[in-house]
Subunit: 378 residues, 2 copies
């Protein structure tokens, strides 16, 4: 166990994931250091030290990391060279720099799955847009930027030649479009002892326009063999990566019962928010247990849950106002999480709501009401 | 609803109750101000502003209160005159100063119960020790200081004349000793609209020497009619007080099925810690909902639970070390809450552990193991 009271934990990124990680870290008496470029970041008042600076700058990340005992991330887009140096100098960096490096590049990710015989959609790596010409027979496909894409940004559908003009010029992955039935996610934790524990699979419902999770259902409505398959794949990815910390594995369930890895995130994840109220251990505490090399917590479900992302309402930009809060909070089992962002803009993640109910169908009905009622406007 | 984003909430007291209140307040995007005399108080890194100063000093409390929109407490022993002035000047002070004043004085508390025909043990008010002489026939009794007693301090058993030399000289309540079967507690919330909601009754097991809760069981093992009686009494007390916020009502269940009020606390309480993991809404969020005049949350039980206070081990005083943490955390359903106190001393509240399990008896077995394993030493 790496734990000691008052251990200095550094978090790269001060957004909502960092915020919820701190809420869990309070229970373990850790001293929290946060680095974020935004003076108004959600973690601004919750850390022992909140430092403003770039996550991509070598010196900034290096000097920040030198102050702490264990360094973790809540966002992948950080300076890995600095993390590699810190690791050499004996700072515990979890997830490890080699994992972050791999995850930062969707091309390396795909090659990794292929190399380890892990199921994923067929793909090609492109350097330039003009290479698309040779893959006409491969369409329809999805073109994903290898780097810096997230929350639906950096993704284009390439259905036919007509879409070529809109394609990305930069290095990308051209992935076969999967006719999937559902999108699933499994979050696995692995500590330095090699202990592993997976949360039950959840089912994600994406916003039709923006590539953002709109509803999440726990447990997923899938057969036991599919559940086992999804959990086993997630465990294999974590094991092959040798990751220390959490790994969220997003997967496609195809119409013929195949489970294919879509992508992974080596940190607490949007698909695990519900675990705060709905599982025996939350993903945030589990991440801490993993990086502190503590025994992993029980991932069992306490109650079925639906999670709804509270996205900035289209058409509104500016200081946020939450409309319908009172109505939403009057519904039994509704748990509101506001992220403390001062300004809203269309589709910005402003918060989330977890609805727990012994009956998942009732939770779904409540989620619909919440979705129609609670709005982040100005 | 008094709520708005970024509302400034002041908390008098920066101890563990304030700490857990902040963990809940994060979800509602409140700006937290904390006043505590101790620079190392558990809330020190979690507030937007943590101010060091006396809770009993008029000017300190007044100036602190002037900065915030809503002012609450996590300890009763605060300067009420300052709160009365702040209330006059339009600051929302919840619980209201008149409630705090009443609760600060166990004599006024007892008179209040009598006046409102609320069941409580027979008592006399004493100004001086020498008045004890006239109550010989009333013994055995418990002498409680009217003011400033807490966590078992300020309480003496007066079984016979032999105990008179040890009796308190200050103003006190002499209360008939109750041959009780169990001690129960019910936490009620009341908002400014007058909505009320009670948590199910819990059963408390006290440390034989120190008057501190050692184990708490949720739900209490009592018959339905006793549960109703306890809940109704708690609701009546809250209603008669007109309190806005949480009220924890501790009660004795006598061997012949009577329920008598022991004492009350107008704030989150040790007997409600388990609600964080074990109930649909936690007592901390419920307190916020009440003082923000929001709809109250669902108090239903998610899972049975046992709560164990982690008290400083006798014989140890100094910088704390938690022995057995790894073993305790390996048990499924164990939730550790360390309060971030740097130094331990005998019987100091250093943290608590909530064990949830679908089977309360299993939770009790686990609690015993935790109790034997996890120690706050130096």
């Amino acid at each position: 166990m790496y734990y000691k009271q008052g251990l200095r934990l550094g978090i790269l990124g001060g957004g909502q994931l960092g915020r919820m990680l701190i809420q869990a870290a309070v229970n373990l008496d850790l001293e929290i250091f946060v680095l974020d470029p935004d003076t108004d970041a959600p973690c601004r008042y919750l850390a022992k030290e909140f430092q403003v600076g770039s996550l991509k700058n070598y010196d900034t990340v290096y000097h920040f990391g030198k102050q702490v005992d264990i360094l973790t991330i809540e966002i992948e887009n950080v300076n890995v060279a600095a993390l590699e140096q810190l690791e050499k100098e004996g700072i515990k960096v979890f997830p490890q720099p080699h994992v972050i490096k791999l995850v930062q590049d969707k091309g390396l990710q795909k090659d990794f799955y292929k190399q380890h015989h892990l199921p994923t959609a067929p793909y090609y790596l492109l350097q330039h847009k003009d290479e698309l010409a040779q893959y006409l027979a491969f369409l329809p496909a999805v073109q994903k930027l290898r780097k810096e894409g997230y929350d639906g940004r950096g993704v284009h559908k390439i259905v036919s030649e007509k879409d070529y003009p809109n394609a990305f010029e930069q290095p990308s992955v051209l992935e076969q479009m999967i006719a999937f039935e559902k999108e699933l996610a499994v979050i696995v934790a692995r500590n330095a002892n090699g202990d592993m524990a997976a949360f039950p699979a959840v089912e994600m419902d994406f916003h039709p326009e923006k590539n953002l999770v709109e509803y999440l259902f726990s447990p997923a409505n899938i057969k036991n063999d599919i559940e086992s398959k999804a959990v086993n794949i997630a465990i294999q990815v974590a094991e092959n990566l040798g990751i220390i910390g959490l790994l969220a594995v997003e997967m496609f369930l195809t119409k013929d019962g195949e489970v294919l890895i879509n992508e992974v995130a080596p940190r607490p994840h949007n698909s695990g928010h519900h675990t705060i109220e709905a599982n025996m251990v939350s993903q945030y505490e589990q991440h801490l247990r993993a990086i502190l090399n503590m025994p992993l917590g029980d991932t069992a479900i306490k109650l079925p849950a639906v999670m709804v992302n509270l996205l900035g309402e289209p058409g509104f930009e500016g200081p946020v106002h939450y409309e319908g809060l009172e109505t939403a909070m009057a519904i039994p089992g509704v748990n509101i999480h506001l992220y403390g962002k001062k300004k809203t803009k269309p589709f910005r993640k402003m918060g989330h709501i977890t609805i727990t109910d012994p009956d998942l169908e009732k939770a779904k009905e409540k989620a619909q009401i919440v979705k129609q009622t609670l709005k982040a406007i100005t």
